[in-house]
């Protein structure tokens, strides 16, 4: 009796395994469309990037730009802010690349981050719009005043900017001073500061973001 039960159980398990294999084969046999192929390719590149493969990383970031723009546009991000969202998303991807699981969709992971950065951009934009007067209205109301105090205002702005630059971390301050204010080339700055050109670019980008935030009152 027990032998019959054991055989039946073994056969049942075998049947189940065969049926699972068939199901997997059926799914695998289905032709992948272009988007699915692209997603698999990017997932593999990102997995390689997690292991330190720079070429794969630059490829996956390059192919991500279009997706980020699409996600941001769908969220209603204005065209002039799209590049900011792309840059912020690329930097975020760099910081959180350890959270990607290559067994899951790269697109879903990327789109979630891009959507978050898109919302952040819309919020910042909204706050800025509420603070700033519409230009024609501002000119109409303050044209004479503006002309009269032009020089003073210029000095004041420069002082505010100098103050904001002084509060930046040393690496970022260095990048702004050499690349932005003294208009030195990347190679010259790299030689002067002993930093790589890559680090200088990232520092400059972060510094500009911080300055934008401080001068517009965003944190």
């Amino acid at each position: 009796m027990s032998a019959v039960l054991t055989n039946a159980l073994v056969m049942g398990v075998d049947d189940a395994l065969v049926s699972h294999r068939d199901a997997v084969r059926r799914v695998e046999d289905q032709p992948l469309n272009d988007n699915q192929k692209a997603d698999l390719r990017r997932a593999a590149w990102m997995a390689a990037a997690q292991a330190g493969d720079r070429v794969a990383y630059e490829r996956v970031l390059g192919e991500s730009v279009g997706v980020i723009r699409s996600v941001a546009r769908r969220q209603g991000v204005p065209v002039d802010l799209l590049d900011d969202v792309v840059q912020e998303t690329l930097i975020t991807i760099h910081r959180v690349r350890q959270t990607y699981d290559p067994s899951r969709s790269y697109h879903a992971w990327l789109a979630a981050i891009a959507a978050r950065r898109g919302i952040d951009a819309l919020r910042q934009h909204g706050r800025r719009d509420r603070r700033e007067l519409h230009e024609p209205l501002a000119v109409e109301n303050h044209a004479d005043e503006h002309e009269a105090s032009d020089a003073a205002e210029h000095d004041q702005r420069a002082a505010v900017l100098r103050e904001a630059i002084a509060t930046l971390p040393p690496g970022q301050r260095e990048a702004v001073e050499h690349l932005g204010l003294r208009e030195r080339s990347l190679a010259e700055t790299a030689e002067l500061t002993g930093r790589s050109t890559g680090a200088l670019k990232v520092n400059l980008h972060r510094a500009l973001k911080a300055l934008r935030g401080r001068l517009h009152g965003d944190s």
Binding site: A38, E58, L61, G66, R97, Q98, W109, I113, H205
Partner: protein, 222 residues
């Protein structure tokens, strides 16, 4: 899935190259399920320590006499595990936020069974109805234990990237408060009563509120 717009990819090439230059290998984050299993094992270890000290018999006697206490305990345990898993899931971009609703059934079991206990007219065996002063011990237990548990979960999420930090922090608060309430069940010698339930609810509410206020900011580092 989107059809990517590759019209002006070249304009971002300098940043991409800069990020490529900074690239270093990273250790992949463990899956939310694996981390939730670790969280459950930790709770099991804490429960084992308490059982070693207090023994299982008093809790089992209470449960045999008043099954609603057992259901409430089970609800609290499941809430701690599910809320922990949800918190870990929310730390990974692209995971469905709607899975936060999964904490509702165990939480309802926990709250519902605790509430039903108050409707009994008789007192569960080996217990008494706690006075307001006695319930202070329960509140302290939940608050004191929830603090390190919440801190531990925030630390476990340090390499994650919660796109909804406040919701994640609420889940951390719920998981740690439910875990503390579950562990309290091992040494809780009071029957379910309105005062006791109200004090438990207050402690759990405080833990969740504190996490929502502070945890969200701690998780917003990125």
């Amino acid at each position: 899935m989107e059809i990517p717009d590759v019209s002006d990819t070249p304009s971002h090439n300098s940043l991409i190259q800069a990020l490529g230059a900074e690239l270093a290998p990273v250790r992949r984050l463990r899956s939310p399920l694996q981390r939730a299993i670790g969280w459950t094992v930790l709770l099991g270890a804490l429960a084992a320590l308490l059982v070693r000290h207090y023994g299982l018999t008093p809790m089992l006697t209470r449960w045999a006499g008043a099954p609603d206490l057992a259901w409430a305990g089970l609800g609290a345990v499941l809430t701690a595990i599910v809320a922990g898993w949800v918190a870990f899931s929310l730390g990974v971009p692209g995971r469905d936020v709607r899975r936060a609703w999964l904490v509702l059934p165990p939480a309802l079991l926990w709250i519902g069974a605790s509430g039903m206990g108050c409707l009994r007219e008789w007192v569960a065996p080996d217990t008494e109805v706690a006075t307001l002063a006695q319930t202070h011990g329960c509140v302290e237990f939940i608050l004191v234990l929830s603090l390190p548990l919440s801190a531990l979960m925030v630390w476990l999420l340090r390499r994650a990237y919660p796109l909804r930090p406040v919701l994640t922090a609420v889940m951390i608060g719920l998981a740690s408060a439910a875990a503390s309430a579950s562990l309290l069940e091992i040494c809780h010698e009071f029957d379910a009563a309105a005062t006791d339930l109200a004090m438990h609810a207050l402690a759990v509410g405080l833990v969740i509120g504190a996490n929502a206020l502070c945890g969200g900011r701690l998780l917003l580092r990125h």
